[in-house]
């Protein structure tokens, strides 16, 4: 191989290596920058969804709290605290209250967990909601997800529980909204973001 050829090979190799190195460096930098940007965007979107979701939870908790704070509910709690109180007269009350507060679910539950009135399944009165009586302080808790039985299906609901204490007895209000496609559609999401929900049957 002549010197001239060797020189040519050397220069070509050097140039190719330099170009490859620069290209690789640019690629790595670009990818990292893009990944960082994408991560930041995703974090921002998720944070926005969480804010929106938490805001919805707060709204639901606020609506249930509004029901708990109303004079009619306080009167009901006082009435039910009497000896031999007749809970049957409140059997139909939850439907109207739920509609006025735009809630899909509202259960009025006695101190021992007995369902007094249910907007989503009125015929279930008298049955027990044991879980609600086991938590000592619902008023400090926010909204949460829970399966809700209805006559035709089992729905997923974002629920909040508030209690009214009169004397030794508590009256529980379990209110919430159905978590379905309609719920997701009402969330204010950034452009390009789409939420999907998977519900095992």
């Amino acid at each position: 191989m002549s010197f001239r050829t060797k020189l040519l090979v050397f220069f070509v190799t050097t140039i190719v290596a330099a170009v490859t190195l620069v290209a690789w460096g640019v690629s790595v930098y670009t990818r990292r920058a893009f990944e960082e940007f994408d991560r930041q965007r995703t974090d921002a979107l998720v944070a926005q969804f969480r804010r929106e979701y938490a805001q919805r939870g707060d709204e639901i908790a606020h609506r249930v709290q509004s029901i708990a704070d109303s004079e009619a509910t306080l009167r009901m709690a006082m009435d039910l605290n009497r000896p031999q109180a007749d809970a049957s007269q409140y059997y139909n009350d939850s439907r109207g209250i739920a509609q006025s507060q735009q809630l899909d679910f509202l259960d009025i539950v006695a101190d021992d967990g007995t369902l007094i009135s249910s907007s989503e399944w009125p015929a279930r009165f008298g049955y027990k909601n044991v879980w609600v009586a086991e938590e000592p302080d619902w008023n400090s808790k926010g909204a949460f997800l829970r399966r809700v039985d209805t006559p035709d299906a089992v729905d997923l609901g974002m629920l909040a529980v508030r209690t009214i204490r009169v004397g030794e007895k508590r009256l529980f209000l379990i209110g919430g909204q159905r978590l379905d496609q309609n719920f997701l559609a009402t969330l204010v999401l950034p452009e390009g973001m789409r939420t999907l929900m998977y519900r095992p049957s």
Binding site: S88, Y91, A123, F125, G126, Y127
Partner: protein
Amino acid sequence: MSERIASIDPRQWPPAPAQSAAAERVESLIFDRLITLDVRGALRPALAISWQQDRLAKQWQFRLRDGVKFSDGTPLTAPIAALALQQLLGAAFDVSATSDSVVIQAEHSLPDFPTQLATGRYFIFNTGEDNSLTGTGPFRVGEWPAADGPGRAGFLANGNCWAGRPFVEKIELTMGVDFPRQANAISFGQADVVELPASQVRRAAQRGIRTVSSDPVELFSLVIDGTRPAMQDAHLREAISLAIDRASIADVILQRQGTAAGGLLPNWISGYAHLFPAATDLRRAKDLLPASAREHSRSMPLVLFYDSSDAEARAVADRVAVNLREVGIMVQTSGQITDSKTKLSPGDLRLMRLYIKSPDPGDALSELLNSIGEAPTDMERPEQIYAAERATIDSFRVIPLVHVSENYGLSPQVRDWMAPRWGGWKLEDVWLGPPAAAGGKSK
């Protein structure tokens, strides 16, 4: 009133129980029967002042009251009364007239025939040349609504009424008005008398509306279609009966205006209702059902129909479904129009309101069995009545749920509302005065 009836012709008696009950109320404003029942249920002379029977109780003779005139002035005669009864009783009876009496010959013995004639559609009417009907009752028809118009009818006092002119000059009756509109009408002073569903009586009283209730005269019951394959299993039918919590239906859905029913007849009529306990027994209900039956029920729920226009019926049907689900019997409830024009779809179970139209146990049970398509047997003696009821209950072809009263809301002006124990109206005794103290409840 919530029901709407097409005509006041007793010959065109509506078959649906709710409609026939409404027709009886409206037609009793215009027509009289030969015999009537007083507010305690005892037989009293009406257009007939006396009656007698032959030894076998196959032939009955009713002597007519003198001087009775129809609202158009036509005198009541034995041939007119005989013609009316012949059309209502049908070919199984031979109705003839003597100078002052109607003679009815039956094919078989009818010891309770006067009680039968004192209830139901056995009104005496006269057919005019234009085919219009007139009666001898306290009112005559002033206005009858067109079939497609608003259901407002007007009745005017009948000055010729043999029992005396009623106190009120005119009655305006609006038919086909749902219960919420009726409740609004009484609240806003737009009506003097409205029907109240049992579930609304307590709330109406809390709002200061006067309420009156009869003794229990309606029976919510599940009627089982025994021809459906799923319902031919007697254990399943019994399990359904044992799983239903009747007390909660009476106390909560019907707001304590009903009583849990284990039998068909209420205790005030039969006196032996305690022999038909209405207790729930979930353990026995579960024991009666094999696991395979529960599995089958999950894949193919039973269908329970109810009257879609009846909010109380819907609530009761939904509650029954919840109770049955607890023992593993899945039920799908479905509303259905139950007027006389619509053909009913076949269902495994049907929630029906059955009406008790007579204080006589035999007649009341016969009517109940007739309305669910059961053939009544001889029910002359109390033990026969009990045996017939026991056989029906033990077959679980009909499952009684709750006995309910008939309830009305009255405006403060209404005075002397003296309805019979078994419901209905006696508007000829009512008068309107200055408003009395509001609120309260009376029987």
